[in-house]
């Protein structure tokens, strides 16, 4: 059962019709509908290709948030072995919105940190929809420092609407926790690579993505504020999210021009959720390549490289 996005409705109709036809044929013998169904399939495929050829920024936001999109857990299961989760911030709690631990990428031991949104109602609530509290960022700091001590590269997978805006989170120092996590990213003497796999939501994302290399999936987004939030503040109307998404330049394509994203990982036709294993493999390859580019660099150079990268951001506009 495919979950269709609102703009995919015409596609859902055609694919539904083809499905119906085939179901009908199975029930009544001697009825040959295959030609017709195939024509419909072809029409649907063309429509899909056409739709995804040039997604608007707002549609990209929708694809990036698609419930069936592969999440952190899926990447960990498929790309890494010996995953050993490490829990807790040693102060207050373990935040399940952030997955973290050690694992092997091939033979190489690495430290993994990522936002996990969950895949059904139960796990989504458990994971707080991928919105981390201070404990999540403090766990990340702890893991980055562990990686730094034992010389393990760090891989972060970013997929969050943002840090959790709650009473407890604020009381326990959400802003300080985010600031410390960004600081940890910028101080560790080991390679740090980051992939935005879905939503890169503001400070909650930057706290993991202040990395040597930042890659983005083709239809993922990374922004200072959600289009809805921006629309309600600047347009005084949260329904203007299409305009806001356009203005914010939050797509992987625009962010590459701005020097924020180092490389784009192409998604299968119709988005990551239509061919999950394929997407995951592509992400794995890019992680290996990015780590390869950083191998052999000294601790000092890795830190200097990261700082230079961020200090230089903003020196060229969209035109460059």
């Amino acid at each position: 059962m495919t979950n269709y996005l609102d703009f995919e409705k015409p596609l859902a109709e055609i694919e539904g019709k083809a499905e119906e036809l085939r179901a009908l044929a199975r029930q009544s013998e001697g009825m040959d509908v295959e030609d017709e169904a195939k024509a419909l399939d072809k029409k649907a495929a063309d429509m899909l290709a056409d739709m995804y050829k040039s997604l608007t920024p707002w549609r990209k936001c929708q694809v990036a948030r698609h419930p069936d999109r592969p999440h952190c857990r899926d990447y960990i299961d498929a790309l890494f072995t010996e995953f050993t989760p490490l829990a807790g911030d040693r102060n207050f709690a373990d935040d399940l919105a952030v997955m973290g631990g050690m694992a092997r990428l091939g033979d190489r031991p690495v430290v993994l940190i990522g936002h996990e949104k969950g895949h059904d109602t139960k796990s989504r609530i458990e994971r707080n929809f991928g919105m981390a509290r201070p404990e999540g960022y403090r766990k990340a700091v702890r893991l980055m420092q562990l990686a730094d001590r034992f010389n393990l590269p760090v891989i972060t997978l970013v997929d969050t609407a943002g840090a959790y805006p709650g009473k407890g989170a604020e009381e326990r120092g959400q802003s300080e926790a985010i600031a410390r996590s960004t600081e940890a990213c910028l101080s560790i003497g080991v390679p740090l690579v980051s992939v935005i796999i879905g939503e890169g939501g503001s400070g909650g994302a930057v706290a993991f993505a202040s990395a040597n290399r930042v890659a983005m999936l083709e239809h993922s987004v990374y922004s200072v504020i959600s289009p809805e939030g921006c629309a309600s503040i600047l347009w005084k109307d949260s329904e203007k999210m299409r305009e806001a998404a356009e203005a914010l330049r939050l797509t992987a394509q625009d962010l590459t021009k701005l020097g924020v994203c180092d490389r784009i990982i192409p998604e299968p036709l119709g988005g990551a959720h239509r061919a999950r294993p394929d997407t995951i493999t592509r992400v794995g390859t890019v992680i290996e390549e990015m780590l390869g580019e950083l191998s052999g660099m000294s601790r000092k150079d890795l830190i200097a490289n990261r700082r230079r990268k961020f200090l230089d951001i903003g020196s060229k506009g969209l035109a460059a």
Binding site: A169, A179, R180, G203, A207, Y222, A244, A247
Partner: protein, 325 residues
């Protein structure tokens, strides 16, 4: 556009506005409603003399009160690309900028200065909430980096006064990137072994709080300042729960261990002198150091050899204080 609109009307308006001047001598405190005499309020650093409410103060006014004799030098900030995203909402971003520049008379939302406080050399940076909500864009990022670089080059501590609604949306992702950029600036100071003192003023929220404003060696806030990541309205909408009194205010954060001190603006200067001198390993400030020496005193002692100013800044010679009983 003709002679009447360009010349006659402004002249007429100016005559009328001149008549309103007497009314402009008073400001009403937004907290207690007390009518306050402008000059008195300014002398008290825009703190209500009746209820102690801290009103907005511009970086320039703050620096005039902070630095010895009101003297400071501006530290140059490299200009960033203007309107990098060609951002347009209901208004164009460059138009909003022009309005803010006209309204505040400042170039951007942060002012960086160097000078002495209690004869202690410092670099200071202050954010201007009246300039587009003090929002952190590329300029503010550049200003903090310039401040840190200047502090490292001259071996001075950095004191930063934060005030912002958060990141500047009109610069999109580039405003978000100021979080890591300013964090690098803070790291430069730490590596040089220089104190970084943050004074959080009303309001400090969003990406600003979640980066340089929370990374100080000493964290001070002005009374009742709103300091948070997500604002109270956002939280109420998200969790549909009423928030306790004083939630996210300076005193609340102090209670929850997120700040070192809450200090009234009128006491800040003295406190900053004390703290920076201790952290910089300097002898205590001398009371008589604070006001500029009266001209008659120096005339009375012409026999004193003139000190090399470089030596003086390395270790300020304490002037003998008039003993107070």
């Amino acid at each position: 556009m003709n002679w009447i609109t360009n010349y006659v009307r402004p002249r007429i308006n100016s005559i009328f506005s001149r008549r309103e001047v007497p009314e402009n001598l008073w400001t009403k405190c937004d907290e207690c409603g007390q009518m306050l005499f402008h000059r008195e309020l300014a002398e008290n650093l825009n703190v209500c003399t009746n209820c102690g409410h801290h009103m907005h103060i511009s970086p320039r006014k703050r620096f005039e009160a902070l630095f010895d004799g009101g003297v400071f030098g501006k530290v140059a900030v490299p200009a960033p690309l203007a309107d990098p995203l060609h951002f347009r909402d209901q208004k164009k971003y460059p138009d909003r900028m022009k309005a803010a520049q006209k309204g505040t008379g400042e170039e951007e939302a942060m002012l960086v200065a160097e000078g002495e406080i209690g004869r202690t050399p410092i670099v200071a940076a202050a954010q201007d909430f009246s300039f587009m909500g003090g929002s952190m864009g590329m300029y503010v990022g550049n200003a903090i980096i310039a401040a840190a670089e200047r502090a490292v080059a001259t071996h001075r501590p950095l004191i930063l006064f934060s005030a912002a609604g958060g990141a500047r949306m009109q610069e999109g992702i580039l405003s978000l990137m100021q979080m890591p950029r300013t964090t690098v600036a803070v790291q430069m100071l730490k590596e040089a072994g220089l104190p970084y003192i943050v004074v959080l003023t009303h309001p400090t929220t969003g990406g600003v709080t979640a980066s340089y404003a929370m990374l100080g060696d000493v964290q001070i806030a002005e009374p009742n300042a709103l300091i948070c990541f997500a604002g109270p309205r956002v939280i109420e909408q998200t969790i549909r729960e009423t928030l306790p009194d004083g939630f996210q205010r300076a005193e609340y954060l102090l209670d929850h261990g997120m700040l070192d001190r809450v200090t009234p603006r009128t006491k800040l200067r003295e406190e900053l002198i004390t703290i920076t001198r201790m952290l910089m390993g300097l002898p205590p400030a001398v009371l008589a150091d604070l006001p500029p020496p009266a001209p008659t005193e120096s005339d009375a002692e012409p026999a004193q050899p003139v000190m090399d100013p470089a030596e003086k800044s390395a270790e300020p010679a304490p002037v003998v204080p008039p003993v107070k009983s």
